[in-house]
Point group: C2
Chain length 341, copies 2
Amino acid sequence: MSKVTIYDISKKLNISAATVSRALNNNPKISLKTRELVMKTAEEMNYEQNTLALALKSGKSNTVGILVPYMNRSFFSSVIRGIEEELYPHGYHVIICQTRDDAKSEVQNINTLLNAQVDGIFMSVSKNTKDTGHIDRVLQKGIPLVFFDRKKNIPGVSSVTIDDFNGAYMSVEHLIKQGCKRIAHFLGDINLEIYKDRYNGYLRAMTDYNLPIDKNYIIRTNSKVESGTAAVKKLMQLPSPPDAIFSSSDFTALGAVQELKKTGIRVPDDICISGFSNESFTQYTEPTMTTVDQTPIKMGKMSARVFLEQIDEEISVTIEKKVVLSPQLVIRDSSDRLKKK
Amino acid sequence: MSKVTIYDISKKLNISAATVSRALNNNPKISLKTRELVMKTAEEMNYEQNTLALALKSGKSNTVGILVPYMNRSFFSSVIRGIEEELYPHGYHVIICQTRDDAKSEVQNINTLLNAQVDGIFMSVSKNTKDTGHIDRVLQKGIPLVFFDRKKNIPGVSSVTIDDFNGAYMSVEHLIKQGCKRIAHFLGDINLEIYKDRYNGYLRAMTDYNLPIDKNYIIRTNSKVESGTAAVKKLMQLPSPPDAIFSSSDFTALGAVQELKKTGIRVPDDICISGFSNESFTQYTEPTMTTVDQTPIKMGKMSARVFLEQIDEEISVTIEKKVVLSPQLVIRDSSDRLKKK
DNA sequence: GAAATTTATGTAATCGATTGCACTAAATTA
DNA sequence: TAATTTAGTGCAATCGATTACATAAATTTC
């Protein structure tokens, strides 16, 4: 039950602990005979390296922290999986924290991670994060930080995102090709770049296709289902309601669909709807929902790689990498008029 | 950037590091004057305790591991939240691992956690876990282990579960009260107790209400959507198809509903359906789905408390606590015939 | 006022692994 | 053969905090 240490091995073999340590680490200075003997004995005695001691000595905890708004969103949980998969072979494990989109909780969680002496932090900032004091503290300590999806523009900090502008553009273009002309947009929190970009993609697609942009068609939402319900109610009261909605979130898109069905408006026949994120429920809804896949696993893997490259640079050159992945439009029934016919 | 240690403080104040340590830990042996001085200086110098050193010295990492099949299921993510909330004030942080219901991955993850020297492990075993060698290793090391939801019966190991039998019973009883008589059951993997219990609850309710049990109505499923689709196809080919399905999983229930809708069979008018777990998508489906809530947050909090009690017992008495929580039936449209009329 | 307590602090070992430096013995070179 | 190199190993410090034990100073007791 009590732990076997290198001292136990050294005593048993009548050699020094230093030799044992070196043998276990395949130090070439140690003779093959000794090395093999040590290895064998360690095996026999069920020796396991004490990671805490190693961590203290090396100053590396071999742990990274991941900060997400909600870990039970398929997007975020997939990113996490990507990070884990990429980092696992390098001996890292992962502490996951949820902010529940609350700036205070974000600060608190960053403190927890710093306190746990993580070797790096991956984060997707929460919606209402304005102050960046906690982020500055991370940087001051020289701890590698990688933003994914939701980033802040901070010099020297790398990020992995998708091309939200293009994702939005493709989505709106698709709606236009379905014959839609009065396309509304559910705008997310513009404190976050991703929503600004999606908004801009929407605007560009509209102007590129010479469609008028009606201010009344642009509704602020907060990526909750109810918010989509409320938004669509507003839209439907307009003298000329839209014939499509490009939502910046799957959740609000869902709320819209639910409300429309309740009032007897048919999707996609009367109005086309598309969401964003490819949440897993989008394939279960009635109708199934068109959305934009953000390639989360790839995003996670890329983030991990950026991190690994960063710690490889012995000299802490503040290299700043901005990786932008391409999103994938996933066309489903909620917008697919052509297939239906 | 370089860390401030107690030695830095001791040098600055010309006192020993021991005194600094004691002062910071509010040791009453230290005079008030010194204590306050140390506190103030530590504050000024931005001292932060090195948790790795503390961990090495104390042998406690203040980290616990949580092992779940899928962290993006609302049930599991809520349990995790419950555990975190309860443990956070005690200074613990949490490492979350996913097994993706794979026994091999479970073993690997347990190794990772042991290697990270966690102070305790919370786990919900994966479906196909037969061998318990990895669990035994945890126990041999004297690391507190708490099963939640999906447990193995191992002497000396505590668990927090819900009364699955009763949850099933309530569900089936509810279906019977809707006027259903030919009630089918989607059986989960009977390697897991929870599914056995749900099955038994189903059987008991049927016999209590003098309803015949038709073997053809009991279908093995694997809690995937497609599995539900396949199962309901089988059922509908029977000479006398069922008028209700009690599914041991929300996912299979969803698959059933989707397939039924496709073939024009109305839910709940022609057939009532109920699931299990209160996954968040169940409130979004069409119709909304009746299910059983497993009070996951409470389950997480209870698990955490069991763990805390366990480590409080200085003497490692192998106290074994079996906490069983009461599930809640959530009645929604997929089974609610009476409301509809 | 000497002895016995109490209070406050310091010394040094400890947790387990790593590693620069020193050292011995063997091997190579001149 | 003497001098030099090289291979293999040990010594001891280090990472940062804790704590049993020792000790010095202050206080109380009789």
